[in-house]
Subunit: 393 residues, 2 copies
């Protein structure tokens, strides 16, 4: 009855793969390597309760009133201090997913090109599609010349078509889904390309602080603060239930995001912002983050050793230095979407890699999360999945 | 430097009147009749603290994890029970502003027509413009025949242009900005028109439960649940700092909203939803609401009597039976936008009525809020404003 009423604008967007993945899944009833959920063990309940009580005492009714569209000043200042940027460059978002959406909304007209790595984050691709962006995925080639050429070639192709590239979307740290990071050299090349060809970079970095080995690499934003919009999130370093993130960008860009955000939801959740600000200021966030990193490092190491032990030959995987995911590649011809039904029937879930590829390639890949389940369930889940794969390959 | 990078799509939308109104205003430093803020006196701090502690005890980590895109089931059920609708028709939104935005996003293509009353809510008009909707305002004429004819004529005009009406946006209860409500007969007429001409109605009703006199009128949703999307909000009956509202609609419509919401921000704030659900279930919300109604009724009565006492002749105003606003009409030729600078210099703020009129008419009108300020400040503010107006008129 409503079919003719919906916007054509969103088109194929309404066929949501994420929805298909999760609608049949009760995360606690199966072995789920599917979601990007942090472990609930990392949420410091008593410290949160204490902080909430302090916020009510300190701010009273102000903590429950409407707040500024840019975010509560205390939280903007805490983010600005933590990341060494001026406070006028900080906009608080109602989740970093909103950061992605709002950047696309203020920058992209239908048909405009967005460059991404391929694979890239599914939720970003979904948002880009909803604005009818023309998404061009670029494979991450090894070797700096090949890496650079892949982007140059794609950009040249877009220019030849007379189309406009609005931004490059990148997750440089422990990428979702691959778990891989960009080297400093690669970051510099991409920033230089943005300057050269006049597009922006949306640097989405929700996992950046979850590093288990190696040294931090400078953000793309720090390399050139005027062509990069940096998106961050409290979901992985504090708790996703607060739905809080931030965008760091040139004030002229934040100015447009402000107006857009006003029309989206007026302001981010106010009480939650005060809690996050107090949690940061008091040092509780850092203490808790250290514990989370220990926990996740152990789970990553466990998953890597289990894959080594149980996976059939012909299966390869990435070695993430941080974050929540690693990425499996099965032999050519394997179809992870088809296989998903079998896996789910057997009680184990993942996300098929195809959904992360803008061009629908990567059929023989899958993303595995290692943060959500307990160690015991990771062991059982890998054994189950490896057993199913052994029979399939 | 960024001018060519922004979306053309949002166009004039970026010149936000709301922003202009509020950017120079420190709400506590002036007499503000401008915002739509509830009184911070209505936020029951100790009961909220208690409820938060209970939620942490009862739900543990689940209250801080990602939640369902449709909203937390406990809150959906509480809303469904309260308003007598099936739970599968309830979507929790991250504020009712998001409800407006998401309805527009799933329904409207550029150039599609949205009907509204004129005047209508500024934040809705801003959202509609951001999707390049063609907004047609219809004046609220007195007398049922005139009322009906105004809508029929507008609809006929749109049809003659070959354009498609996607929905009628209405605030039937204590409208923002006018404070006026639709009669049952008027509601029935609009619902019948929607059926007849094949468009939907977005019924935005954030003030519905703030009634100070008279009997509740049935919602438009209750008259025809399949052509009406009903939007509600916790901002006026609990606290705006939680940024929570709801959409009640046919499941086929919610299905599209689900996918859109996933791409907007994944899910509403989770902890806040549990708190709202507990607050509702425990009866605390209703007890607190009764106190808020008492408080606001007193402020409305005060404002009405002050206007009577101090306003110069030639100024008229509405008599709202509930809500947060009343609407002033000055003599023809008065310009409330121009006058605003004078008022602000003198220390008193309002919102010029012109911003609520899709066609830019209503220059001699202004909206006054009576919920936010203390009684003492309402008295002082009205005296100041009336004095300024007396010298102007």
């Amino acid at each position: 009855m409503y079919d003719k009423m919906f916007s054509e604008d969103v088109g194929s967007f309404f066929r949501s793969p994420v929805r298909e993945i999760f609608k049949r899944v009760d995360l606690n009833a199966i072995y789920s390597f599917a979601g990007g959920y942090p472990s609930a063990d990392t949420f410091p309940l008593e410290e949160i309760r204490q902080t909430m009580s302090e916020v009510i005492g300190k701010y009273g009714g102000q903590a429950f009133q409407y707040g500024a569209t840019q975010g509560v000043m205390q939280l903007r200042e805490a983010v600005a201090d933590r990341y060494g940027v001026p406070v006028e460059r900080v906009q608080i978002t109602s989740s970093s997913q909103q950061g992605i959406d709002v950047c696309t909304r203020v920058l992209v007209d239908p048909g405009d090109v967005i460059l991404t790595s391929s694979p890239s984050y599914l939720g970003a691709l979904q948002s880009f599609r909803s604005y009818r962006a023309d998404i061009r995925g670029v494979a991450h080639l090894t070797g700096i010349d090949a890496f650079c050429r892949a982007y140059e070639d794609t950009i040249a192709g877009v220019k030849a078509e007379g189309k406009k590239i609005k931004f490059l979307y990148m997750i440089p740290d422990f990428q979702n889904p691959s778990g891989e990071s960009l080297t400093l050299e690669e970051r510099k090349i991409l920033v230089a390309l943005a300057r050269k060809y006049g597009f922006l970079i949306v640097e989405d970095s929700p996992y950046r602080e979850l590093r288990y080995e190696g040294e931090p690499v400078p953000t793309m934003y720090s390399i050139d603060p005027d062509v990069v919009i940096h998106l961050g999130s409290f979901s992985k370093i504090f708790a996703p239930g607060f739905r809080l993130g931030w965008a760091i960008a040139h004030p002229d860009i934040l100015d447009k995001i402000y107006v857009c955000k006003q029309s989206l939801d007026l302001c981010p959740p106010v009480f939650d912002q005060y809690v996050a600000a107090e949690f940061l200021r008091s040092g509780r966030l850092d203490a808790n983050l250290s514990a989370s990193i220990e926990l996740y490092k152990g789970k990553r190491d466990l998953l890597l050793s289990l894959l080594e032990q149980y996976m059939p030959s012909g299966v390869r995987w990435t070695h993430p230095e941080g974050g929540l995911f690693l990425f499996l590649t099965m032999p050519e011809g394997f179809d992870a979407v088809k296989f998903y039904d079998k896996a789910l029937d057997a009680g184990v879930a993942y996300v098929a890699g195809e959904f992360f590829h803008p061009d629908g390639s990567g059929k023989n890949t899958m993303r595995m999360n290692f943060s959500f389940m307990s160690r015991q369930r990771i062991v059982e889940g890998v054994k189950l999945l490896a057993d199913l794969l052994s029979r399939e390959l």
